[in-house]
């Protein structure tokens, strides 16, 4: 076999003076970059993905990982990755896979939006000393309230309120299945969700029994593969989500490689060990909005009318699709933008299909308002929310809440190396190899994720305080408090946002 013409992306190097031959790098690397050569550690740098596990666990700081300085001739048009993928395709005939959200140079509208603040004429609020409300209710809201006075003289709501899910702050964790991530990673999400009063989402891989104690903070997902779906499962969480699409790979299905299907995952999904878990893009019982309605209500019938969320990818016609989804009876519309993450997607799909969440969100919120049905469903915006500022901007554009997934994994050690599909994650997140998953102590890492959620909570309150408002509800869909910098007139029009200076 001849040497691959796709040069390694990274160079792993050990300072031999500092190395004490403790072999921790060998133990820690999930990709087998290091091996023992009898008297020293050998390095196979072509396997390195720069996840930095070895670097962090080297007691002598002897390891350095650098981008391979030997690159193809630099060229503004033919990028390194472009050429590298061509070489890989020439060698394998396959579609290069990738993980995480798209890292390509498309405009990031979040970075061209700025939030307003109060000065002199309208007072800001000090969130450290004044109450600040982040509580968010997900679910259908009635278009009108009828209130009557009871015999005791107290006001009472006439009729029944549709079911609502209370969140302590407008944040949920995006769906990541058992199989795509480890059970320990799911436990980190579940513990955090419970502690912080938010939600985690099982993804489409079924519900492992270890997560049952967290059921009041879990959304269970039903996708085309119907993995692990039974009446107990549907009733296990606070809501059920139908997955239609994913921002990282709109229009194509899920495909969990056989490497990530050991016995326990196979058991939860009820498929053979080591096969590829296939969940094709179309759910073959949903070819229309009417069919979607049929599944939504089949689930509602089976769960005594729990809220049903429908997750769609942001695509060109997303506003009309979302309108159909709401009319089909969804309580929540989860929109996943172009930058949304994935455990495995062909890079050609991830980097070239769909639209960003900023455009999609503004378009959907506009459309639902125009049609007078915005109250019929809550909107969760997802797909590349990197910070509480992104979250605040998304809420101002019209989201009820935002979902994060990659940001949550980063607290568990993820460095966005993008090799989730290999099942070799050295941090024990996107792997099922027991020696790797054992590293991710749910208790220890939940503490870090809880810290993140608390930090965002404080930041959101500070932003609200600066805006001079004391409830997240006042920011929701409040595009007047956003300004665009360096955006063209049409983009501003789509976003419904004025340019800075106006």
């Amino acid at each position: 076999m001849f040497k691959s013409l796709a040069p390694p992306e990274y160079i792993a190097d050990i300072d031999r003076e500092k190395c004490i031959r403790c072999k921790r790098c060998i133990q820690n690397c999930g990709w087998s970059v290091y091996s023992w050569g009898g008297d020293k550690v050998l390095i196979n740098t072509s396997k390195c993905v720069k996840c930095l596990r070895c670097y962090h666990y080297c007691p002598e700081e002897a390891i350095t990982i650098v981008d391979n300085p030997t690159r193809f001739k630099s060229n503004a048009y033919w990028s390194f990755n472009n050429i590298r993928n061509l070489k890989r395709q020439a060698e394998t005939g396959g579609m290069p896979l990738t993980g995480m959200g798209s890292d390509q140079k498309y405009p990031i509208l979040f970075d061209s939006l700025l939030i307003d603040a109060c000065q002199v004429t309208n007072p800001s609020i000090d969130p450290l000393r004044e109450p600040m409300e982040l509580r968010t209710y997900l679910g259908k809201k009635p278009s009108a309230l009828s209130i009557e006075k009871g015999k005791d003289g107290k006001a009472r709501l006439n009729g029944k309120m549709p079911p609502q899910i209370a969140l302590k702050l407008p944040l949920v964790f995006g769906p990541m299945s058992y199989g795509s991530i480890s059970l320990n990673a799911q436990k980190v999400l579940a513990r955090t969700a419970k502690e912080c009063g938010i939600l985690m989402n099982t993804g489409e891989g079924g519900l492992h029994e270890d997560l049952l104690p967290y059921r009041s903070n879990i959304v269970v997902q039903v996708a085309s593969g119907r993995f692990g779906v039974n009446p107990d499962y549907l009733n296990a969480g606070v809501a059920v989500e139908i997955k239609i699409g994913q921002g990282a790979k709109p229009g194509i299905g899920g495909h969990l490689p056989g490497e990530k299907i050991p016995l326990d995952v196979a058991r939860t999904r009820m498929i053979p060990v080591g096969t590829d878990a296939i969940s094709p893009a179309p759910q073959h019982d949903i070819y229309s909005i009417e069919d979607l309605r049929q599944l939504i209500y089949a689930i509602k019938e089976a769960t005594n009318y729990k809220p049903v969320s429908v997750k769609i990818a942001a695509v060109h016609n997303v506003a009309a699709i979302a309108s159909g989804v709401v009319r089909a009876g969804a309580d929540i519309v989860y929109i996943d933008g172009f930058r949304g993450g994935t455990g495995a997607a062909p890079s050609i799909i991830r980097d070239h299909l769909g639209i960003p969440i900023e455009h999609a969100l503004a378009a959907v919120d506009d459309r639902l308002r125009q049609e007078g049905i915005r109250n019929e469903a809550s909107i969760i915006a997802a797909g590349g929310i990197r910070s509480s500022a992104d979250a605040a901007k998304a809420i101002a554009l019209g989201a009820d809440a935002v979902a994060i997934a990659t940001a949550a994994l980063i607290t568990m050690g993820c460095t966005t190396c993008g090799k989730c599909y290999t099942g070799n994650c050295s941090w024990g997140i996107t792997t099922q190899r027991p020696e790797l998953t054992a590293r991710l102590d749910p208790e220890v890492y939940a503490e870090r994720l809880i810290n993140l959620v608390h930090a965002w909570e404080h930041e959101l309150k500070e932003i609200l305080g600066a805006l001079g408002i004391n409830a997240i509800e006042s920011l929701r869909g409040n595009r007047e408090r956003l300004r665009g910098v360096g955006l063209d007139a049409q983009t501003l029009d789509i976003l419904g946002v004025k340019p800075a200076g106006r």
Binding site: G258, D276, A298, E301
Partner: protein, 245 residues
């Protein structure tokens, strides 16, 4: 026997009546005058015997786990959607997408079925679903199948319709499909191989078909006279080499 008059009933009311009857411990329930109501038996548990007179609507026995439903006439689409346990018996024909993602229990259809029957069926050791179709089936029979058993009998030989449509077992990666008579390899997905049945298969078939015959008053010997072909996945990873790692 407990009787519910379904004439003109809204599906939600009808289903809550059925649920209430089951919860009260009724063991034999008959629904009369059913006319297209959706979701009958949706998510229903227990071991009640439910008889349906009239044609039930889509998603009959979706997510059901335990009861037995006998339909005295034809049925529509999406029966036994992700059904977990129990049994559904259809005395007439049934429509498309039956047993989608089915995880357990049985579906016995005496007549013909439509497209995409038994797709995404799952199975784990003893917890495995069985679908037996007495007549013919449309395209995509057993597509993406991951477990369980699909049996197609073609009992009422008709010249107008072949026993099975195109794309048989496409994307299959688990479970087994049995077809009574010959299988045209050109109709099969690339992911399946056609095999002769052996003694173990005969055991599986006899067990499943004895129960089927009991439901419809048929004779097992008559059915077993004609040999079966077995379809199984040729690879556990049909799309394993589609990607560059």
């Amino acid at each position: 026997m407990f009787e519910i008059n379904a004439t003109g009933a809204y599906y939600r009311d009808l289903n809550s009546q059925v649920r209430e009857a089951v919860e009260k411990g009724e063991k034999e329930i008959t629904l009369k005058g059913v006319n297209g109501q959706y979701y009958i038996g949706d998510g229903l548990r227990g071991n009640a015997q439910i008889t349906i007179e009239g044609v039930p609507g889509n998603d009959l026995a979706a997510f059901m786990d335990g009861p037995t439903i006998r339909v005295k006439s034809n049925a529509q689409d999406n029966l036994c959607n992700t059904m977990n346990g129990g049994k559904v018996i259809i005395e007439g024909n049934a429509g498309d997408v039956l047993g989608y993602g089915m995880r357990g229990g049985k579906l016995h259809v005496r007549g013909d079925v439509g497209y995409r029957v038994g797709i995404h069926m799952k199975g784990l050791k003893k917890q495995a679903p069985t679908i037996v179709v007495g007549g013919t089936a449309g395209d995509f029979f057993g597509e993406y199948m991951a477990g369980g058993v699909l049996i197609l009998l073609g009992l009422d030989e008709k010249e107008t319709r072949p026993i099975v449509g195109d794309y048989l077992g496409t994307g299959m990666h688990g479970g087994a499909i049995y077809v009574r008579g010959e299988v045209d390899k050109n109709l099969c997905g690339a992911e399946v191989g056609v095999l002769e049945t052996d003694e173990d298969d005969a055991k599986v078939l006899k067990e499943a078909l004895a129960d089927y015959c009991k439901d419809f008053g048929l004779k097992l010997e008559d059915i077993m006279k004609k040999p079966f072909k077995k379809l199984v996945p040729v690879s556990s990873r049909p799309y394993g080499n589609l990607y560059a790692y």
